[in-house]
Amino acid sequence: MELSRLVWRNLARRKLRTSLTVASLVVAFFLLCTLRSLVTTLQAGADSASASRLIVQSAVSLFVDLPQSYQTKIAGVEGVERMSKWQWFGGYYQETENRFAQFAVDPEETLAIYPEMQIVEGSAEAFYANRRGILIGEGLVDQYGWKLGQRVPILGELFPHPDGPEAAWEFEVAAIYRPTQRNFDSKMMLFHWDYLEESVKASSGEAPGVGTYVLKLAQGVDPTAVMARVDALFENGPQRVQATSESEFQKQFVTMFGNVPFFVSTIGGGVLIAILLAVVNTMLMAGREQTHDIGILKALGFTDGDVVQVLAQQSLLICVLGGVIGLSLAKLAEPGIAEAVGSVFGGYHVEQSTMLFGAALAVGLGVFAGFAPAWRAARLQTVDALSSKE
């Protein structure tokens, strides 16, 4: 069809401009897709959180520790089946860039509370038996090449080694887990609470505080009632606590530095508006340049609808091309991005709904951007268009 050929040739008429417009669309759709995937990953993480787990933290802040003495009291609350202390260790491996989540936990309790950690190398028993043993995720094996039995030195920043800040804590890989859920962090290192406590006591004389208590509820128990009971237990101090569902805790953790979904959506919206204006501008320029050709088409007998089609198709092609490339790149970059943001956005994944949303957006953008020049072209009088010098 001659008109389709005309559409392609018109796009090639200003190769640099068309290429730059497509390139800007590629960047915009890549960003949109990636940003939306961050939001959906957060949401998916919260959605996949277990309803039978509660997190107990200080009512003041996550950065304020709770006394160890609370463990016995909380364990006695009706509905609590199991519980573990968790403390963020905050160290790094060899270089300061090599940071990942390290927690001191009660090993047996933790593995019972988190069935999502499927041990694929070593064994739970080996982990329990070795005081310096660590349970690591496969993500760390992939990243650092650690093997079962390997000694792993970690430099503690929050908890310096009793021999001094230059000395590393020595751990040994006792077991490796594979997450059975996509959104479960595959780059955690868990080690014995007792090892942390002994070492900290040896240097400071005081037992370390507890970052959070993770509770596993008995089957059929109402989580809200347990939360209320736990909160009530420490209402009069010495330190008040806040018990939340795991899902709520995860959302709070990620949004500690602000409303991430809102922030990310705002950036995405800004990117979209900026690119929309750029594409509309490009299409208006293209439409003006083609005014004379539009006059020729109309003189030959092509209808207003035909010329609308020619201009709208150009806009649509540019947007769809940019959209397809941008979305494809976002999908291709998925493993890399997942690796880079895995510590905060565990299980980063570009969902099919995001791809479909992006594709619909590309078509919508194409139609919208092509509307103004197409409308103008349809209204042009043939004689005026033919006498145009543009």
């Binding site: 069809m1 004379h292 050709d293 088409l297 003189a299 030959l300 209808t303 207003d304 009088q381």
Partner: protein, 233 residues
């Protein structure tokens, strides 16, 4: 009814800078089908406006424009487009070829409005280009053609749908003498051999000699219609 061109009391005005200009002033003119007419007159006499009205590129303020038996005022925008595609071929002074398409693609463009297959359209466009002597230039873009070749390509495009009317606005205005002569010869052949009704706007008395009848306009009014010998027709 004459199946040629009939204009009855046609008036056309333009408003420029707040001033109303009367371009055609109650024009009555009748032109026979199958003849070659040259439309002459000084600048601003209304020649191109008349051509645009006959080709349905523009509409009159009042009066009737009946071309090939069709009263153009009765047709809406879409119907006028269809009518133009079926009945009129245009040849412009500035050639008006689409620069991003080859000669063959330009010529086959009007055929996209017909029910012909892609192959048939190509064959017919190639044949039209052969008729105007451009077989060896059919894959060239307009900028790769000389002015005379561009105009011959435009003529091929004008005739490819086999319209009854060829409307030419200063078709030799931008051409050298030899190219102009080739274009005029083509128009004469279209009239004689294929029976096309040709209406050609020109300033050039030599070009006007190619026509059977010369229509003289001045200030939007008809001065007269003469034959080549100057006798009133």
């Amino acid at each position: 009814m004459n199946q040629g061109i009939d204009l009855k009391g046609v008036t056309k005005t333009y408003v420029r800078g707040g001033e109303t200009l009367i371009v055609l002033d109650g024009l009555d003119l009748s032109m026979d089908a199958g003849r070659f007419y040259a439309l002459m007159g000084p600048s601003g006499s209304g020649k191109t406006t008349l051509l645009n009205l006959v080709g349905a590129l523009d509409s009159s303020d009042s009066g009737d424009v009946i071309v090939g038996g069709e009263d153009l005022a009765r047709l809406d925008r879409g119907e006028l487009s269809d009518w133009r595609a079926a009945n009129v071929g245009f040849v412009f002074q500035g050639f008006n070829l689409i620069p991003v398409l080859s000669a063959l693609e330009n010529v086959s463009l009007p055929l996209a409005l017909t029910s012909l297959s892609r192959k048939q359209r190509r064959e017919r466009a190639a044949y039209a280009l052969e008729l105007v002597g451009l077989s060896d230039r059919m894959h060239h873009r307009p900028r790769q053609l000389s002015g005379g070749q561009e105009q011959r390509c435009a003529i091929a495009r004008a005739v490819v749908t086999d319209p009854a009317f060829i409307l030419a606005d200063e078709p030799t205005g931008d051409l050298d003498r030899d190219s102009a002569e080739q274009v005029l010869e083509l128009l004469r052949r279209l009239n004689k051999d294929l029976g096309k009704t040709i209406l050609m706007v020109t300033h050039d008395p030599h070009a006007a000699e190619s026509a059977e009848r010369i229509v003289q306009l001045d200030k939007g009014r008809l001065l007269g219609v003469t034959d080549r010998a100057g006798a009133h027709a």
